[in-house]
Amino acid sequence: MIYGLIDLQSSTLRIGQAGHPSPVLTHNGGNCQALGTGGMPIGVWPDIDFDFIETAISAGDRLVLYSDGVTECLNPRGEQFGSQRLLEAVEEVCGENLDTMIAKLIEKINAWREGREPDDDISLMVVQM
């Protein structure tokens, strides 16, 4: 699970990461960074200190959120799409308008699958500040 707060007044993004893959933040169509390094999933133990990340955001920045079905998406050779490949894909398309960016990311994931049926849901969301 991942939970976030976008504070438009202070221009900050705060994310609580509970075992969810690290989202990618793009800055004005340029710099892209994966946020966080993971965290313990919800419900494992009664008392967990969850990982929180806080970062500054600006108008035009985009936050790419996705399910693990994206990075764990396998091609017919059993290779995962992976977080590095996703980061590179985001870097490649982050300069496009929002709809095109999303369409191209989905295109890349589908191209990776080469027709292989996904084993898990593939969910992708991009939030533009």
């Binding site: 075992g19 893959p21 690290s22 390094t37 993971g38 965290g39 313990m40 999933p41 494992v44 693990d68 764990e72 396998l74 059993g78 995962q80 084993d119 898990d120």
Partner: protein
């Protein structure tokens, strides 16, 4: 889910004989491990050398068996492939399970 068994003293070494521990096999995976635990095996090395993929349900099954074994026993992991090691690190399971590079190290740690 099949496991290959080996014994080293009072330590049971189980090699997961599948390349995936995911939704379609989690139930049998959990059931199999639970049966070993119920037989009184409280020191278990789970060899994941053949497993290339574990999803969140597989992770849940591992945690469930760990809780079943309880504080008096040990369930440790060894020989994780890079994808699985990465997932265990992302979910901080490397802080919940002791994870060893190979079977010998795992057995030595439990001995």
């Amino acid at each position: 889910m099949k496991f290959e068994e080996a014994k080293s003293g009072d330590i049971l070494v189980l090699t997961v004989a599948s390349d995936r521990v995911a939704a379609e096999s989690t139930q049998s995976f959990k059931q199999g491990l639970a049966e070993y635990a119920a037989q009184g095996n409280d020191k278990i090395v789970l060899d994941l050398s053949r497993v290339s993929f574990v999803d969140s349900s597989g992770l849940g099954a591992l945690i469930s068996v760990l809780k079943l074994i309880g504080a008096s026993g040990e369930l440790v992991l060894c020989s994780t492939q890079p994808n699985v090691a990465s997932m265990l690190k992302l979910t901080r399971m490397n802080k919940v399970f002791r994870i060893f590079g190979n079977r010998d190290e795992a057995i030595a740690a439990l001995s």
